[in-house]
Symmetry: C2
Subunit: 373 residues, 2 copies
């Protein structure tokens, strides 16, 4: 069953077997008991938790123990700018917003504008990353984070705070260790080698700032886990709580590939895509349907293999009852591909239209969120 | 003649053959013609130039070409805090001050408060480096730099400016290259591996800030050259002028070792040493003298091997005529060791007393020099 696949912060390939991944990464599948505990405190469960789109974790039980003792956690997530954000990029941010709302949590959002510059040969201008970063930040603010509880920073603009702490992390990571964990080589550049220390900092920064240990929770896409496997050890050695982590699956591309990637445009929906582009892309989506309308009506399709169904499941139908109806109509053959796709692309376009309005409004709020230093 | 010796930014050992060093490092001995050119513009020659205490350079001829075309250079030097500064640490700073005065040059002084923390296992608290750094900065300001033309910054406090530029450098240095040049191993920590990029930044920062190419001159102790052998290549590739460099010899320790080291206290004079301590240390100095006063009077001594003579030559007797008299009295045996040492320790104590007064006054000027960001 476990075919060949690869999940690193730089490449996600193949058909991912999340069970194998959990085992390889040493992360814990989210249990129903854990979900109940989260629900007890939140008053409800986000559909991404109910549906195990967030499928694994590190130390969530410990985090809730702390919470129950009155030791509130803060949240940390991030986005490495490389281009326009995609629908897939929204998943950790939407979960983060929900957690902020339900747990009244402070939030640090790191925008490592140096990461892709250091990691990718073809990105040669670090200044260009900054304008992309600012566009991404507007997309993030548009999701509705609380400006009183949220700090957003670019690494290059916040290095006055981050660099010193990154040095503390870096001192405890040898090249050997980083090389094995992150898949570096002797030909990797020395900025890229150092970078993982910068990504570690927000996971204990609040403890530094407050002079006491504050639990931290990091919602992230599972490919980012590797940075924190390294960092959690070091953070513990520095005397801080190791951060808890919630791991999200990837939104598959419309053609059914492992990850909606911002580098392969045609099967990926960007937040900037115009309605006709969305319609075209969704029109090409892989569905679980039979070869002809007649066969589909007779045999029905498979919602697990239908990207239209999956996009509803991941993002566009929070109501489980309604989602089940969509799946059912796929299974029983009453919904044909064309109609199915049209409904989804309308739904996506409605979302994107609203998002663009919120993003425009976010421009005025930027200064409330940004910190420099 | 060339015994075994080692000169790296982390260890200076053995009897240094500066001719061999120049060859190994690929740096150019300072010629009399070059000195004449410097004298023409400065109106005089600093005794450390006349005496070839600054013994080698990179591209000083080019720098003066630029200067003659009206393209003024700026200066960059630095000090990695680890403890109290020694007399030896003053050499590049005194030359830098003279160059600032004579050429009206702007000056950046980098205080890499992370360097020793990253390089040394036994330094475990980066915050401690900061208070040492501030003490060192007061010592530096006390030397009389022009506050209107001088910026001093700690790396951890100026990383908001430095880190982005360091990433530009780092992207162009592979681990292989850094490893060979800096003597790193796979067990070096990833902060130490990255650090050389931070040291490179002030050598082109003014060009970044002004949006035009500004020549840079770096007076330094010769062990620091290795950082710039790496950096000069990269800086050139980034489209900036490669910095010119002036290389200083090390002030030998009082026992005649290669370098006065802040880590071997008893033969090293710190700027904080009290008069009796100075007297004791100088009292133990290696001299070029004969075994007894009688033999000394008969055969005379060797000023080249006499640390008392050498301290006059390096720092405490700017007048060549007077220095020659001191040397002569050593050679002809008329000056005995005890008297010789007493005169030097009085001279040093006089200097240190004045220095401490200037350092106290420097506290009020600190804000005029410090930049953060």
């Amino acid at each position: 069953m476990a075919g060949s696949f690869s999940v690193t912060p730089w490449k996600v390939e193949g058909k991912i077997d999340y069970e194998v991944l959990e085992k390889n990464f040493g992360i814990t599948p989210i249990s129903d008991a854990l979900l109940k505990r989260i629900e007890k405190h939140a008053g409800e469960l986000h559909f991404m938790l109910r549906r195990k789109i967030f499928l694994a974790h590190r130390e969530m039980e410990w985090l809730l123990d702390q919470y129950e003792k009155g030791n509130k956690f803060y949240l940390y997530t991030g986005r490495a700018p490389s281009g326009d954000m995609t629908l897939g990029h929204l998943i950790p941010f939407l979960m983060t917003k929900w957690l902020q709302d339900k747990f009244g949590a402070d939030l640090y959002i790191q925008i490592p504008d140096e990461e892709k510059f250091l990691a990718k040969k073809d990105i040669t201008d670090i200044e260009k990353m900054k304008s992309i970063a600012y566009e991404n930040i507007l997309d993030i603010i548009a999701l509705g984070f609380d400006p009183k509880k949220t700090k957003i920073f670019l690494d290059t603009e916040y290095a006055g705070v981050l660099y010193k702490q990154a040095c503390r992390v870096a001192k405890r990571i040898t090249f050997s260790t980083a090389k094995d964990a992150l898949g570096l080589t002797n030909e990797s550049n020395i900025g890229w080698i150092f970078y993982t220390s910068m990504q570690a900092v927000p996971a204990f920064l609040k403890s530094v700032e407050e002079g006491r240990n504050v639990p931290c929770l990091i919602p992230l896409a599972v490919d980012q886990d590797v940075h924190f496997r390294l960092a959690r050890d070091v953070i513990g050695k520095l005397g801080y709580y190791k951060p808890a982590i919630l791991h999200a699956q990837f939104l598959p591309s419309l053609s059914g590939e492992a990850k909606m990637s911002s580098s392969s445009g045609k099967d990926t929906i960007y937040l900037t895509d115009k309605p006709d582009v969305v319609e075209k892309k969704v029109g090409r989506a892989l569905t679980g349907q039979q070869a002809t309308a007649e066969l589909q009506k007779k045999h029905g399709g498979n919602p697990d293999k239908c990207m239209v169904c999956q996009y509803y499941r991941f993002l566009f139908e929070p109501d489980d009852g309604k989602l089940e109806k969509i799946f059912e109509r796929e299974r029983d053959g009453t919904m044909l591909a064309g109609e199915h796709k049209k409904e989804l692309s309308d739904r996506i376009n409605e979302f994107l239209e609203e998002h663009r309005i919120k993003k425009e409004r976010a421009r005025d709020k930027l200064e409330q969120f940004l910190v420099k230093g």
